[in-house]
Subunit: 115 residues, 2 copies
């Protein structure tokens, strides 16, 4: 795939690397969550494959906590291991709970996408 | 998957049905295109599997030309067969060409997502 383009296919997002601010690869994007009505990407659900010794397999990050870095050909985030470990638990009801979404955004210190 | 939720996983978008305004299934979503920086879904790339006798396999529709219908558990569009047949051709350069994007949005009569 061409990574220099301003747009990316959802088929190619799966597996895209995520880096720390100092450029270390910390994990990858498993899939994205999308708001059906607005078409806005709301969360990148990450997998860490043992990089940080995290027990759970999937960690949703607010989209606003990620930034695409052309040079690294991947996303960067300032989120810390401690933040991930203490994040609000994900359940099937999370995607329809504004209360859970509010806590998650607050936890990572980013503005809600719906405000 | 639960289709009643306000959010959907990119893993589940592939294969989601697309219906005409009168509720006939006309095709399905193959994948989405996403603007890397803003996280906005820009296009739904559709496949028609012979429904309309269309020769090409992939037709990108501006996201704004689709609306999610909870009852149908899929997307609806008012786009016609004639519009699809006469749409600007898709190439590898399309995703980095504002000129092509402008023509496509104009063709389907929807406002550009970047304006």
């Amino acid at each position: 795939m061409r990574t220099d383009l301003p747009q990316i296919s959802t088929e190619n997002v799966q597996g895209t690397n995520v880096f720390s601010p100092d450029g270390n690869q910390i994990g990858e994007i498993d899939h994205l969550m999308i708001d059906k009505r607005s078409g806005q990407v709301t969360y990148a659900v990450m997998s860490f494959g043992g990089f940080l010794g995290l027990g759970h397999s999937h960690y949703p990050l607010p989209w606003a906590a990620l930034h695409y870095n052309k040079d690294l050909e991947g996303f960067q985030t300032g989120v810390t291991e401690a933040q991930l470990k203490n994040a609000p638990q994900l359940s099937d009801d999370s995607w329809s709970s504004r209360e859970w979404e509010s806590r998650l955004h607050q936890h990572y210190g980013v503005n809600p996408y719906w405000a």
